[in-house]
Amino acid sequence: MAMLGTAKLMPNVPQTEPAATAVSIRNLSVRFGDRNNEFTALSDVSVDIPEGAFVTMLGPSGCGKSTLLRCVADLVHISDGSISVFGRSPQEARESRDFAFVFQDATLLPWRNVLDNVRLPLEVGKHAQTGDHADPHELLAMVGLKGRENALPHELSGGMRQRVAIARALITRPRILLMDEPFGALDEITRDRLNEELLRVWQETGTTILFVTHSIPEAAFLGQNVLMLQAHPGRVKEFMKVDLPFPRSLAVRDTVEFIGVTAHLRRLLEECL
């Protein structure tokens, strides 16, 4: 994979206070359905995501991880409580392109080639033309797809498509990356490689990342912090720090410390059930 200069990918983050809060969630509740048939997906969730942090989210299926992420992205209506993204409402943050979202499947537009898919965020929205952005060719080189600019999505493998989606997310130089099981559908080897690449991108860009996963090793390997959610109703079980030094390489997973972390996470997850 081609390495890349860091300078051009740095988001325009004012480098004032180092530990500012990127996302602040206060007493968040989300209910679906109508009055007679109400379902509480999230109840009284409060958490602060520091700027520049890599936070992974774990929890049993259906506990509301996606819902929480989608609330931050202004895709789900908040019933109670509040979310602030760099001091603004999710809607304002969305309109000023503070965050980008990576979905479980790549959701590329099948009629656009790789390059045009990566450029899509520059063509739509109020801020389409204004604002500086990363160079799509550079991003494609970074995710190892140099030379495939003209390929159509159906000509790519699943892992390649997901890398295009990541390049598309990075084109606006978002201050926050929201990722909902982005590597969930990939084989283990591809997933490992993309994990390493993602860590590298994170360290090069200083982007805040909120990353949902089902995999305990993935959560431990990527996260500075793990946000564990618990179901019925969805709420915070624990917000814990992962005590493993950066930069991390895949070999870290064979260390005793790593195994200790995953064992602890597994215990917590079992308590959630």
Partner: protein, 277 residues
């Protein structure tokens, strides 16, 4: 003079290109060999049956009779084909255009959909042939009623398919566009319309053949021109070879329209839907 110019450019074409063209033609012939042999076989069988059972020409003409009818009636066939082509084409364009615009409106306003979809279904339920006399009474005997009927026949399949196509954009794609703060217009142009294209072309291929049928059926009702009128006239005068020749032309017309739509489709849609891996 123009055809002279074109003929000189033809002879001026480099020989390699001619050979490539020959190769391509031969390739197409080989590829469709089974279909071609079957068609030729059926025509020969038809000739044989007519000859063997001594079927009178007014009842069922032999292929040879029909071939002579083409030759003898070339001018009549030609002058009657032109208005039918025009009606079918204009009906195709207007019927589909209205259907597409209506579908876009329905997708953006569920009130509009609830209000007008049932009416569209009702119009569809009226037998077209019963509508023709009404339209002739209103619009007279010119091209207008034929174009309207050809258009009406195209309208409904395209409307249904287009609404479905515009709604076929996956929820994930719409989420993506929302995260990008795309406007409804941007979503329409960048996501909904492109993803509706396979649905639209499926309908256009149906519309291509049925628009010809619509034009011909409309010409049955008191018209003095068009392939439809020619069919009626040939039938009443027992000119069976002419009748058959007219029917062949109508079919060829429909096939050509279908073919044109297919070629445009193949050029426009080179992608495969996201789910087809």
């Amino acid at each position: 003079m123009s055809h002279v110019v074109s003929s000189t450019t033809k002879t001026g074409a480099p020989p390699e290109r001619k050979i490539a063209l020959l190769d391509a033609t031969a390739g197409v012939l080989v590829k469709h060999m089974p279909a071609i042999s079957a068609a030729v076989g059926l025509v020969v069988l038809w000739q044989f049956v007519v000859w063997f059972f001594k079927i009178p020409t007014f009842m069922a003409p032999s292929p040879v009779d029909v071939a002579y009818a083409f030759q003898d009636n070339a001018k009549i066939l030609w002058t009657n084909m032109l208005p039918t082509i025009l009606e079918a084409f204009l009906g195709f364009v207007f019927g589909n255009l209205v259907a597409i615009l209506l579908a876009i409106w329905f997708v953006h306003s569920s009130t509009a959909e609830k209000a007008f979809y049932p009416i569209a279904v009702f119009i569809k339920a009226i037998p077209i042939i019963a509508l023709a006399p009404i339209l002739v009474l209103i619009f007279g005997n010119g091209l207008a009623p034929k174009i309207i009927i050809a258009g009406l026949i195209c309208f409904f399949p395209t409307l249904v398919n287009m609404v479905q196509g515009l709604k076929s954009a996956s929820p994930a794609m719409l989420d993506l566009m929302r995260v990008l703060s795309a406007s409804n217009t941007e979503i329409l142009w960048k996501v909904r319309l492109p993803s509706s294209m396979p649905f639209l072309f499926a309908a256009l291929k149906i519309a291509a053949t049925s628009s010809v049928m619509g034009a011909i059926v409309a010409e049955w009702i008191g018209s003095s021109f068009g392939l439809g009128a020619l069919i009626i006239e040939a039938t009443y005068n027992f000119r069976s070879p002419l009748l058959y020749a007219t029917v062949v032309i109508a079919a060829v017309l429909a096939v050509v329209l279908f073919f044109i739509v297919s070629v445009i489709e193949a050029r426009m849609i080179r992608w495969k839907p996201a789910g087809s891996h």
